[in-house]
Every structure is written in structure tokens, then in C-alpha cells.
Point group: C2
Chain length 400, copies 2
């Protein structure tokens, strides 16, 4: 069976970043920059005051000197004259330095008296001045292509005078849930049937990854219905199916899609939960077939869909970051499959303590929703005791 | 001067969670649940098969037994008859257990031959069955009020048969940037003027916290203009101002708002950057006045606006989680103010190494955008050497 790492490599190598679109900066939070943002101006545009105070010539402004106040220059209203010997200009944070001045003396160090200011503490040349271009210079790259824009990047792009940015189009991810037994919430439930959790869980998941979900109507266990659902996904950047992934007579996803041109890349990986993962390509559209059990579907999403959406979005693909925790209970030796075990977490100082839930059945979605972490276990990982260090994926940290 | 912790306590105690609204589950990702989601059904609804195989009576299905196949029951199509001695029914993952059966024997342990199945490995009572209610029972609380709904919660609410959920209304956060010197990106820039980074940085920031930003037109440094901007914010759950927060003649936010009824709670805190933080209340609307320097504005947002939005949203307020890192360079002793120092991070095994940037001027937005962490320093923290442990806020982890 294929390892998790090899499966991920195969999946990611099939993903191509989406094309570009130009959007308003105010809507660009969380989008992935496709073209670098370069500074259209120099910031600050001139030497400016870093404090409220007085522009002076340091040579004049020794302790006990008295200078003549010749003007005031609030931020946005530069002084147009020239400071000569013995003169000062009132400034505020952000004010442009007047010509001739080489220091700002802060207002706390001055006593103002009519048109005079009395210096109580000597000025120093260059003090309290932000030099032109201290933050950036015109032409500097402010935000590189391939970065997901956070609030700070948005602020920086604004400061660089960009009302628009060019980003990758949000990937469209089509989601096809299959099964005679499933309904959507609020719809009629057949005898012995259940409500589908996967469709909207995965839609929320791929939204959180920055893509646009397309929830296709549920397909019953029928070759034509499944093939029809997949047809409806044409144009998506990725088709995800859930259910019908095993070897039973009613596991029809593979045959239904193969009849419409699916070329299978792999099927089944050495992982628990999520063994019957399928991957292929249907007329240029990558297709990822997840098991129907919601816990399996989620773990596959975390390990494969999240980095796949990253690549589609123009980001670097990275598997979920691993942190360490101390085990809160014993764990038996692991078998051939890489295992992801639902656990709760307690914070102990700066350490995490991870305690696996007793029952790990992949049908139990509630323990997944309650889990704060997945403990990752390598194939053949030996038995572990409470207090041993393990690797975890902290679900709060990945935000999924 | 007020400590950071006391300032946060004062701010948070003035925040009240927003009212409730009912929204479609498919749009509820990232929203905060106001009313618990309780299970409207039992999951699984009946004992179901956990595998593809055959429902049998364990007492009959000993090794080498031959059982008579009397039917097939795919998931969603329960067998309506009864299994008697010597009989079996074909099942699939998710199939309801037929009456009379007490075990599922997996298909790999059986040889099927016409209407007979030959048992190759004995069945065990209860094996491969998910009992009714194993995941949850009708009436169970699936997701508690006050939880921000992630993809797993959405899946669980769906499984519990909820097409709608009742959540807190997104807080409306009005943002008023002030200053004669600032313009929006792409607009005319006055002589010595700069482009406003705060308005859209903060809008993105509060969006990322789950609230709805209202970016008010920029107000010039004029009492009437600032008061008019604040009037336009009426009905918001929080008004944030930037700039005009110091003691200069052109720092007009306090007097402008006080003329319209602002009751000041505090002004100035023992923090760097962000000392001139102001907090008050204007006719029931909390008002937080941030300094105009973008780095100061951001650090104030991280420490005060993020938890404030959490409380408004119905969440527990928590300051950003602290992690530890080893210092990559020396740091001098700190003064009276709690300090937040921009730094980059490298991963060293499971540890972070944080190296502060050399220049920490609060006008330098680019170093903020490039920072991966803020090193938190307590007041009077002594000088530190490379390799010492420090507390950090990892900006990637808080997603802001």
C-alpha cells in the first residue's frame, strides 16, 4: 500500500495554480497574491518627525538656549520656509522636517513662551526624525507573489498605494456525496438512513482553506447518478467524492467515473482512518475519492485536500505542522498503517498533554468534533507510555 | 500608567455579546453558536454494519460452517425479514443489522458459492457492529453555545439533522481613521502626505476576527469632521479610531468625541508600541482610540481588539496564546512598559528561534508585515542573551 507521504506527493504534483484576477484591496484579505506588490511611493515620503516637538538646528539648541518660533507645520501641512540660526518650527508626529532643521526636540524638553522656546535639554542632530524611505522606497517589493494576504499585508499594500491587487482565483472544489442511505439535513430520511455530514463539513473545510465549494446534489448508489454528478463538476479545479470507495457491490464511484474517462492514479493507502482513498484524473480535472465515514473523510481532507487547495491557490503546499505533546495515557504498538488518533489536549505550562479518546471508530464524528488534536503515529510505532513524547496535529492551530 | 492586563480587563468588561440570528448551516462556518445544537436523531439510528460482509448468528457461524444466503441489504435498504438458524444476509458498510443477527463476518473471511456462504474464520457475537447511538443519541448536546463553528462542528450539526443554526450576529466594527496627511490608496496625496494603511489593515483584522468592518470616510484634523465620523458609527458595536491620540494641538479625537458625549475610561497604557491607547464609551457604544502609527495600531488590535471582538461575538475572550522560543540575539533590559518586539522565526526541531529585528520604529509597517512573531517582554525584564527562552506571540498561529 502507498504511504501517506507518497500519496501526498502524487496528489500535489497533479495540482496547478489557478489563473489570476484583479480585485479591490479591501476584499483581498485571505487571498493569495499572484503578482508582487511593489511600492509606488517612498515611505515616509520625506524626513518626518517621529514625535510632537520642535524642528531645530542641533547646533543652536543647546541647554538653556532660547529659539525663535517662526511657524507651525502639522502633519499634512509642510512648512514652506527655511529654518535659520536661532529659529524653530512647531512640529507634530508625521510632520515633514522643514528645510534647514536637523533635529526634533520633543515638547517635554522645551518651555514655550510666546514666540520663544526655551530649551531645557539639548537637541542632538538626527534625533526623533524618521528618514525618508525608512519603511520602504519606491520600487521595493512589499509583498511577494505566493503570499496569502493577512491584515498586515493589506496595510502594507495600502501604504504602498495599491487600491487593487492581482491574486489567484479561488479554486473551485466540487463535492459529490454518494449513497442511498444519506439525506441532507431537514430532508426526508429513509428507513435506516442517516443525514449526510460530509457534504457540508467538506464545504466548510475547503472554504476555510480559501477555496469556493460547489456542493453537488447527493448521488444515489447508481452508475448513472454518480457519473451525472461528476459531469456537473466539469470546470471545477478538483472533484472530491465521498462514499462508495470500498470494494462492495455498491461501491460504484470508481466504475461510474471510469466509464466517463477517469484515469486512476492510486487507490488505497497505508493510513488509518482513510485507507480506501482514491486519486485520479478525469479529462484534466483531478478527482479525489474519500471514504464515506466522516472521520476518515476529515483526516483525508486534513492531510491531502488542505495542501492540494494550497497548491491550487498558488501557495506552497505544506502538510499540517507537527507539534509535540506528552501522552496522557498509554498507547499500544501501531501496525503497518500511519495512524491519526483523536485526542484531547491540556496545556501544562508551555507543553501540551494529549490524551487519546478510548474509542476511535471512524464513524464517530462527535469525538472528532470534540478532539483538540490528532496524535500522529508512524507505521510500526512501538507501544507508548503516559508521559512519552508524541507528534500531534493541533486542530485549533491549523484552524480546520 | 495602566498595565496591559488592566487595560484589557476594562475593555472586555464593557463588551456585550451581540444578539442572535438564524442562518443556514451551509453559511455558518466561523460563526459563533448562540443556542446549543442538540441531536434531533440517534446516530447510528440502529445497529449497523461497520464493514462489508454478512450478517450472521455468531452461534452458527463457526469455522467451516455453510450458511444459506437469504437476502442482501445495502446501506439505505434494510432487510425486512428475520435471520434464523443457519442463515445469513449480505451487508455493506452502513447497512442496518437484520433482525436475528448478532455478528457481521467480513467478506474476506467467507467464500460465497451461489446461495451458500462457507465460513473460513468463525464469527464473534457483536463483532463489526456499530451499535445504535454509538456516535450520539437524540437530545444529546452536539455543539455547545459559545463555540465558533469549524468544519467538524458543521458536519456534526448536519449529522444531527440541523439545516439551520442560531448564532450571534457578527459584531459591526466602525473604523475611523483621522489625519490631514492621509489619503486612501489611489487617491490624490497631499504634499508631505501618506497613504492610510490603518483603515484597511484594521478592516481586514476585524474581518479575520469574525466581525463586519465599517470603514468610515477619513476625517481630517477638525473637531466637526471627527465628531461627524463618530456620528456615522452610531449603531456599531464598537468604534475604533486611529490617529489624533496624543497630546499635540492637532490630536483632536478626544475633544471631538467628548463634545459628543464620550465618557473617557482610560488614556495611556504602559505598553510599547501603543502607549497613547484611549478607551471610553459614547452613548452606549464603546470607543477604542488607537495611535496612528500602523505598528502601534496593529499591536493594540492584537492585544485588545481581538479579544474584544471575541466577547462581542459570544466567545470567551483570550489574550493571544503565548508560546516559547529561544532568542537568536541579545536584547537589552526593558523599561517600565510591556514591550512587543517584532521578530523573525526559524524552526529548530520542535523549537522556535526568535530573532528581533534591529530597528523597531513603530512607523515601520514593512517589518511588521515581515515579522513572524512578537516577542513579549514584561516591564523591567532584564537583559537577555542569545539562547535564552522568551515568550512569543506567533502571528501565523493567531492568523492575524
Amino acid at each position: 500500500m502507498l504511504s501517506v507521504a507518497d500519496a501526498r506527493t502524487k496528489i500535489l504534483s497533479a495540482m496547478k495554480p489557478t489563473g489570476h484576477e484583479t480585485i479591490a484591496l479591501a476584499t483581498a484579505h485571505g487571498r493569495v497574491l499572484a503578482v508582487p506588490v511593489t511600492a509606488r511611493l517612498t515611505q515616509p515620503p520625506a524626513d518626518i518627525s517621529a514625535m510632537d516637538g520642535y524642528a531645530v538646528r542641533a547646533a543652536d539648541a543647546h541647554e538653556k538656549a532660547v529659539l525663535k518660533l517662526i511657524g507651525s507645520a502639522p502633519a499634512g501641512h509642510p512648512f514652506t520656509g527655511q529654518i535659520s540660526a536661532g529659529e524653530a518650527v512647531r512640529l507634530f508626529t508625521g510632520s515633514v522636517m522643514p528645510s534647514g532643521a536637523d533635529s526634533v526636540i520633543i515638547q517635554e524638553n522645551v518651555t514655550a513662551s510666546g514666540a520663544d522656546i526655551h530649551i531645557n535639554e539639548a537637541a542632538a542632530a538626527g534625533k526623533n526624525i524618521r528618514p525618508a524611505g525608512q519603511d520602504f522606497k519606491v520600487g521595493d517589493i512589499l509583498v511577494p507573489a505566493g503570499k496569502m494576504l493577512n491584515a498586515r499585508d493589506i496595510g502594507l499594500a495600502a501604504a504602498g498605494n495599491h487600491p487593487w491587487v492581482t491574486v489567484h482565483r479561488r479554486p473551485k472544489i466540487a463535492i459529490l456525496s454518494t449513497g442511498d442511505e444519506i439525506s441532507l439535513p431537514g430532508e426526508a430520511i429513509s428507513d435506516g438512513g442517516i443525514v449526510s455530514s460530509n457534504a457540508h463539513m467538506l464545504a466548510a473545510f475547503v472554504s476555510a482553506c480559501g477555496s469556493e465549494p460547489i456542493v453537488l446534489p447527493i448521488a444515489v448508489d447508481d452508475l448513472t447518478a454518480i457519473a451525472g454528478g461528476a459531469e456537473a463538476a466539469r470546470g471545477a479545479d478538483l472533484l472530491i467524492t465521498t462514499g462508495g470507495a470500498s470494494v462492495g457491490d455498491h461501491d460504484l464511484v470508481q466504475p461510474a467515473l471510469q466509464a466517463r474517462g477517469l484515469i486512476l492514479d492510486f487507490w488505497k493507502i497505508a493510513m488509518r482512518p482513510g485507507k480506501p482513498l482514491m486519486f485520479g484524473n478525469m479529462d484534466g480535472m483531478p478527482v479525489l475519492g474519500l471514504p464515506g465515514n466522516p472521520v476518515s473523510a476529515y483526516v483525508c481532507a486534513l492531510l491531502f485536500i488542505s495542501p492540494a487547495v494550497a497548491v491550487l491557490s498558488g501557495l506552497q503546499a505544506e502538510p499540517p505542522m507537527l507539534e509535540t505533546a506528552r501522552l496522557g495515557a498509554t498507547m499500544p504498538a501501531n501496525d503497518i498503517r500511519e495512524d491519526y488518533v483523536r485526542a484531547n489536549l491540556q496545556r501544562d505550562g508551555y507543553e501540551w498533554v494529549a490524551t487519546p479518546f478510548g474509542k476511535q471508530d471512524s464513524g464517530m464524528l462527535r469525538t472528532l468534533a470534540n478532539a483538540a488534536a490528532l496524535i500522529k503515529r508512524q507505521p510500526y510505532d512501538p507501544a507508548k507510555n503516559a508521559g512519552d513524547i508524541v507528534e500531534i496535529v493541533r486542530l485549533g492551530a491549523v484552524g480546520l
